[in-house]
Symmetry: D2
Subunit: 370 residues, 4 copies
Amino acid sequence: MGLGVGLIGSGYMGKCHALAWTSVATVFPDVHRPRLVALADATSELALQQAQAFGFSRGTGDWRDLISDPAIDVVSIAAPNQFHAEMAIAALESGKHVWCEKPMATSLEDSTRMLDAARRSGRTAILGYNYIQNPMIRHARTLIAEGKIGIVNHIRLEMDEDYMADPAEPFYWKSEQRSGYGALDDFAVHPLSLLSVLHGRITSVVADMAKPYSERPTRDGGRRTVENHDIAQALFRTDTAASGVLMVNRSAWGRKGRISLQIFGSKGSILFDQERMNELQIFSTNDPTNLQGYRTILSAPDHTPYRQFIPAPGHGLGFNELKVIECYELLQAISGSRGAHVIDFERGLEIERVVHAMAQSAQDGKWVDV
Amino acid sequence: MGLGVGLIGSGYMGKCHALAWTSVATVFPDVHRPRLVALADATSELALQQAQAFGFSRGTGDWRDLISDPAIDVVSIAAPNQFHAEMAIAALESGKHVWCEKPMATSLEDSTRMLDAARRSGRTAILGYNYIQNPMIRHARTLIAEGKIGIVNHIRLEMDEDYMADPAEPFYWKSEQRSGYGALDDFAVHPLSLLSVLHGRITSVVADMAKPYSERPTRDGGRRTVENHDIAQALFRTDTAASGVLMVNRSAWGRKGRISLQIFGSKGSILFDQERMNELQIFSTNDPTNLQGYRTILSAPDHTPYRQFIPAPGHGLGFNELKVIECYELLQAISGSRGAHVIDFERGLEIERVVHAMAQSAQDGKWVDV
Amino acid sequence: MGLGVGLIGSGYMGKCHALAWTSVATVFPDVHRPRLVALADATSELALQQAQAFGFSRGTGDWRDLISDPAIDVVSIAAPNQFHAEMAIAALESGKHVWCEKPMATSLEDSTRMLDAARRSGRTAILGYNYIQNPMIRHARTLIAEGKIGIVNHIRLEMDEDYMADPAEPFYWKSEQRSGYGALDDFAVHPLSLLSVLHGRITSVVADMAKPYSERPTRDGGRRTVENHDIAQALFRTDTAASGVLMVNRSAWGRKGRISLQIFGSKGSILFDQERMNELQIFSTNDPTNLQGYRTILSAPDHTPYRQFIPAPGHGLGFNELKVIECYELLQAISGSRGAHVIDFERGLEIERVVHAMAQSAQDGKWVDV
Amino acid sequence: MGLGVGLIGSGYMGKCHALAWTSVATVFPDVHRPRLVALADATSELALQQAQAFGFSRGTGDWRDLISDPAIDVVSIAAPNQFHAEMAIAALESGKHVWCEKPMATSLEDSTRMLDAARRSGRTAILGYNYIQNPMIRHARTLIAEGKIGIVNHIRLEMDEDYMADPAEPFYWKSEQRSGYGALDDFAVHPLSLLSVLHGRITSVVADMAKPYSERPTRDGGRRTVENHDIAQALFRTDTAASGVLMVNRSAWGRKGRISLQIFGSKGSILFDQERMNELQIFSTNDPTNLQGYRTILSAPDHTPYRQFIPAPGHGLGFNELKVIECYELLQAISGSRGAHVIDFERGLEIERVVHAMAQSAQDGKWVDV
């Protein structure tokens, strides 16, 4: 019989988790169908409605009900960021496995406490860095590991969207200081999670953060100062002596879900853009000179685990399906597989440290070691 | 309570149906969660195993068990093409709704009988033309209907894959005459289904069919003559006086899931390629002259029903999710919605007629009226 | 000392010829700088002005002056199509070499007479099919000839622009019957010239021609019936047993200089689009399975004769530079090189025959042998 | 009568200048055909040969012959970088106009002396930043100036090639310290020249430089330490309060002539890549919401001065033709036109200052004001 699942939060990412829990056993034949035990949300009314919509047996307005429910083995945390630490630690201390959305927490202290709790519990605790689950990213990882582009020496990472690009958009909580640095923790963690699985660790950074709009209209007709930064960029070095650049911008008109990677090595290079998530580009000096050029590889059954979804190549996976793969990898990790392809709390904390180092560099105007 | 579902067939498309039935209520809040009653496959052993994997309550080696089960309201038919007619007619005559994979049947006679059965039954009967469910295709339909590209006057349709492209691939049933014309009924029906929802009806055709390889190796070391055509192309005219070209090729090295549309009108044009299914290109003379050019629209919440899957733009749907939308539209049709976006048996038969006219033209070497 | 050049016509293509004659010796070190002797145009006034602008020693209102000038060795014909035959034949009969813009002439009879004159004269006579001079097309020819995509079995050719796409554009001579078939001879000859150097000969065709707008406004406020066809398409077979499709449209909104080739073989395929004339795409089954995909080769010094223009790869040639290459190849042909990469009058006549066969098929509604 | 021209250097860029001087009057009707007076190169033998090839009246092994020749009005300097200052200053002091290839010189001191000489002389002195001449760049400038993307707030600039990417490539002068910083002065000046005409001035930078290969093989079988940096990146701020990133890499496998611009504003964004130099992409919030997306504008007669080359849109200019335009703009500047689109020595020095500030920042590890 499958694991018992509790889900906290039923918004954007909560629904995504629900879809993953619902689909994972249909997609992956070696998975026992999870039992959707309970869903928690802000009010019991909302929770009940969403539990019914998503196929959970019951709903509750108190997330602690899930923690204490012995029928629940694993807790999905898709609640607002400021609650991640408290929920994850409570769940782990109750012996639950934890699947927590990113970012890990809103402070390094909380993230560290979460990692401690995970270690003490002996339970599986992972973060929702779903972009690493893209079969094309995993293919890139294999190609890099096999030396197909030689020794990596330069990396460029970009993540851009435009949901904050309109200066007429009224001030809301995203622009408050207590929401964090802005683009740096909203976005930077994603390309950093990709880097984490693809190549090396960042050891030093120099960063800058910028505000495209220093103030925004308020709903009552006034103006309010924007407290964090929609744009950030950093130069970095890795433990493999590669140099690189990270750029994030949540006010980038025209960009909708761009996560662009450019990875250069001594024998070739690899390009990827999440807006065309079913494509991977590689340039290889192994090709005959007169045939060299970037080739576009389309996602296909050869690229694990695409085949579980579709047996034909080039038909395309979607964003939500990355979460289904993540769910599968979580189940692999819970069952003790060492090869599970996840960002656990340990790697998650490493990513957080890089983000905080960048923020500090932006403040101090000089290089900072991670 | 949701409808009771029976699924016949659990291969490629059967799994796709199972995923759709599993996910549809999670994605669409206005849907009652369907009950997965029974799954039928070639043997009861296989059926039991797949029923468990896909979350159906029971499995059976006899598809007629599903037809007679009063707990089942709707039957998904994802069995081999030659059984479509028998199964669909039986289901309809038992008062079930039918969701039948394409192609409708292996002969015009069978297709006609299916339509007759559907009409007699008063039940909903639709075909699995999932590509029409792409939000970008529906957006294209809206743009065309609104006159954004003016009066359509020229159309080019292509569908190409390469699963038959290797001449060393041994002869198998796909190359037998009894499997049909080849690329014409494997592929042509897909772009024709898109045309069916986008613009006009084909009224006359002149076609050609070709064999890239006249024979193939057999597994016992011999050679066998290929009996149908991996390549087909046709010129056509529509009832709206547009001219067009249809091209299909299942031996097209490099193409994996290409369905390319080029639709030209008096005020602009629209381009689409299923290999980049989250993009739609439009050229409009409404743009200022010095800003004219094809723009690439990324799939977004504005494009119905993308928002049900993801509230953020540009994140991308996958092939399988088109089936979830199709399932939703089927449920809309069953509940009596007139606006359901489906290819019912009536429109399906029209598509079949075009395919058969093309085959006849290829044989006779002259224009044929549909 | 270089050859003496006479140029007839100083419009769009005349200027292009002038640029080629001016640049060819600077680009190609093995060429003797041509002497720009005389330019002829409709009036002596215009001719004098253009002669000065383009660096010709003298200008004349009578093109026959060039024919009789012993200082002139080669005549560039960039005059309206209806004069091609008369001018080319006169030039050849006077012992001049001829570089004639396409199309060859306005009737098969004239084209045939031109070929006869060329044969009798023993002089070099070529047509201005400059697209074949693109280093990427020549690279494609090499790759196909080397078997890189195996045995070619399917071809799709498209040429589209939008200069006739606006229905409000007043009727002008391009829409008169005496200007020819329309898109068929305006455009079809170009992709056919590419096919001529890349692979095989067309042996039979079935074609259709269409009018997006049956009449157009006149400048005096009336309406006039359009007499030829802005759109044409044809299915074809080649002497190599390949099947194919040719599509041309001069009313295709959004297309500016598109000439798209798709060439499929038993081991790969090649794609090209003139709108991105410095790129060639190839898919090859020689690549390892998990690295297969279309690769984009950028024009580079390896692709003859790109190096003569730029020693660095990826910097890009332009449309006008194709004419410089054509001029060089003409000079090669004149100097007796057998390998000159040109469309001479013999191959030019073959192309014309295909066009006329298509027009006849469009009229008769059945297959026509070329 | 046209200006008398002297050309120093007949290699890669010397040939490019020669082509420009030869073609400029044919392309632009308002230009008097320049007289190609003399060409200087390292030896008189080479100079004579190249003078003949390029159509110059005479050749000389001593560049000072050109400076003293009263028949020469303007001197093209395409000699090695270390000679730029001496030659330019000598030419200016003799009353010649100067067209000097980039980079301006090999030290800030020399660049400053060049600017002083230019000011004293009252002659026109420009640098060979030909990428700014691309009609698409000029179109971008117009669109930005017209406010089509609103207030610019973020900029990303990349320039990458791979001519130093092979670690097996033997050590040569490009890797010596006396050749300069490496990628920073080889490449950075190009995107900086584009920024100079498009938007704002850089006021502060923090930079990093990296060596993908710390040593290279020598031709005698040994190894030699690489003395400068093939990779450089910098964060910057502009006088318009925009933030930005500059990235250059001459060891970037797969990149051939990439110069990528991403310019974001409060109402849209603009993208450009020199490898597709005939395309410009713009995203505009002026478009209706359901039609928003990046549109690709193809180069066309509307984009000055494309029309002078080709009257039809989408046919494409090449890299060499940018030099022809630059030559025309130089002539405009010489004739006193205030609107000439050139990088004169004053703006050239500004660019040099940014490069040197980046180099210093890379050394000091902190922000540097320009």
